[in-house]
């Protein structure tokens, strides 16, 4: 046993050192290329720490009542955009997943459309929509919905394509129509997957809605941005903590739901 153990350990440490060397090497090269001076960072570090510790702390508890509606707005925007996005995505996913597509041209067109959408982040939509709709929840909702479509269409499509074709075949063989095959053969099989992706998307959207809020999408993001501009950093900190709590809560609730529906 020792025979095999010793060389293995040596190999491992060789990997480690190669790794460390590569990381350092890349850091130095990129530092050189971008003219980033590590010494500068070290010098300003105390300043940043000071800024964070003194200006952002302690979080202002008295801000809580001020942003509760904004936080609720953010949550609602995330939920509504995810639900709307999920329904639209499901429609498209059924049209372009191999087992359920009506024909291969529709399939190709929707795939192309979805992959275009996927390359435009929600943030970009928000920036595009602010001039048209003005700052507010409409922009947030539209941006989040459009931003979730691309990836949800893709996830849903993959979920539908992973369905056991045997179940579909069985419902076809009893004389089931297209719609009955969808309802009785496809949906029960992909249901947990779809819900699970939608919940994941909800988590993403809560996070994203904060950032989208900062560029004009309303909700808690707008509150944070607004207070930073007014140098009320402790207010912003409190709001950021609230967002973190909200995200954690959503994650644990969605985990519970996922376990229930398997």
């Amino acid at each position: 046993m020792q025979f095999t153990y010793i060389p293995l350990k040596k190999e491992k440490s060789l990997y480690t050192w190669t790794g460390v060397f590569l990381v350092l090497f890349t850091a130095i090269i990129t530092g050189y290329v971008t003219q980033f001076d590590i010494r500068e960072a070290v010098i300003v570090l105390p300043g940043i720490l000071d800024f964070i510790l003194v200006d952002f702390l302690p979080p202002a508890l008295k801000a809580v009542p001020d942003f509760m509606t904004s936080l609720l707005d953010t949550l609602c925007m995330a939920i509504i955009s995810t639900t709307t996005g999920a329904v639209i995505s499901m429609f498209f996913a059924l049209l372009c997943a191999t087992p359920t597509t009506p024909n291969s041209i529709v399939k190709l067109v929707i795939r192309g459309f979805a992959s275009c959408l996927r390359n435009i982040p929600g943030l970009a939509w928000a920036i595009i929509f602010v001039p048209a709709f003005g700052i507010g929840k409409t922009v947030g909702l539209l941006a989040l919905t459009l931003g979730s479509l691309g990836s949800m269409i893709r996830f849903f499509t993959e979920t539908i394509e992973e369905v056991d074709p045997g179940g579909i075949e069985a419902v076809r063989s009893v004389g089931g129509s297209y719609w009955q095959v969808l309802k009785s053969g496809v949906l029960p099989q992909c249901f947990p997957g779809i819900i699970s992706w939608a919940l994941y998307n909800l988590e993403l959207n809560i996070r994203a809605s904060t950032i989208i809020g900062m560029v004009g999408g309303g909700g808690i993001g707008f509150f944070i941005q607004f207070n930073i501009k007014l140098f009320r950093y402790e207010y912003a900190t409190m709001a950021i903590i609230a967002v973190a709590v909200l995200v954690l809560l959503t994650e644990s609730i969605s985990k519970k739901i996922r376990e229930r529906i398997m």
Binding site: G166, G175, G176, K183, P188
Partner: protein
């Protein structure tokens, strides 16, 4: 007796060029329990799938109850399929649904889209489904999820779903190939008894020649997409079995088929 099903010169060439059936013809009379035997890759599944048009043949004609299936419209096809029960090697149940929900799926072919989509099975259908489950000894499992069942139980649910269709023909594609010998016996007994009692004709493809001889009223041997034996199980001699399971000269997947041969010869 008139024939329930007539298969004439059926050929099937898959998109990749594989000729799975090379001109198969036979007539099935009412009440027959026909067993198809043949090596894996001989074309058994292809033939069964052509009969209820899960796939369509490239040439030839299949007539079920006087209707040419290849000429059937979408609606006529549903009517044909709902009268042909099908049982699968891998059961093809919807795992997340309960036993009774799976059995009730057998009624979909008789229901409108609306009723099907909202699970509006009528009282008669529900009562019948329960009675069928009793007949196959699965009444205690009615509300269990399909993925909690053993293989043998799953296949009995598969039989129940097909029976819920009230079929006049039953197709079974290697129904016991994934089961241990004991469950195999139970499943084949259930299938055979139910078909006999209700006068349902059946075409069953099997891997094991001993099971074939035990249950069949007629044996059809397929090799390389052609029928090489069609007759009474009594007349199935050792040399006839050898002929059915003979390796074809252009067989490239030799290793894959080695096992089948052993299984088949061990009568």
């Amino acid at each position: 007796m008139e024939s329930l099903l007539s298969v004439k010169d059926v050929e099937k060439v898959y998109d990749n060029g594989t000729r799975a059936l090379k001109g198969v013809s036979f007539e099935l009379k009412e009440g027959e329990f026909a067993v198809i035997i043949g090596r894996s890759g001989a074309g058994k599944s292809t033939l069964l799938r052509c009969i209820n048009r899960l796939i369509s043949q490239s040439r030839g004609s299949i007539v079920f109850k006087g209707i040419k299936t290849e000429k059937a419209s979408k609606n006529e096809l549903r009517k044909i399929r709902r009268e042909i029960g099908m049982i699968f090697q891998h059961y093809n149940l919807i795992d997340r649904l309960t036993v009774i929900q799976n059995v009730l799926h057998g009624r979909l072919g008789y229901m409108s889209n609306f009723h099907g989509i909202f699970d509006l099975y009528n009282r008669c259908d529900r009562r019948n489904a329960l009675r069928i489950l009793e007949r196959v000894g699965m009444e205690k499992e009615t509300l269990k999820r399909a993925d909690q069942l053993s293989g043998g139980q799953k296949q009995r649910v598969g039989i129940s779903r097909a029976m819920a269709q009230n079929p006049s023909l039953m197709l079974a594609d290697e129904p016991i190939a994934s089961l241990d010998p004991v469950s195999s016996g139970v499943v084949m007994d259930s299938l055979h008894n139910i078909c006999k009692e209700d006068g349902i004709s059946a075409i069953v493809s099997l891997h094991q020649v001993d099971f074939a001889i035990k249950y069949a009223s007629r044996i059809i041997g397929i090799r390389d997409g052609l029928i090489v034996y069609d007759g009474d199980p009594k007349d199935l001699t050792e040399s006839a079995i050898k002929e059915i399971y003979k390796k074809s000269p252009d067989d490239r997947m030799e290793n894959k088929d080695e096992n089948d041969e052993e299984k088949a010869i061990a009568v």
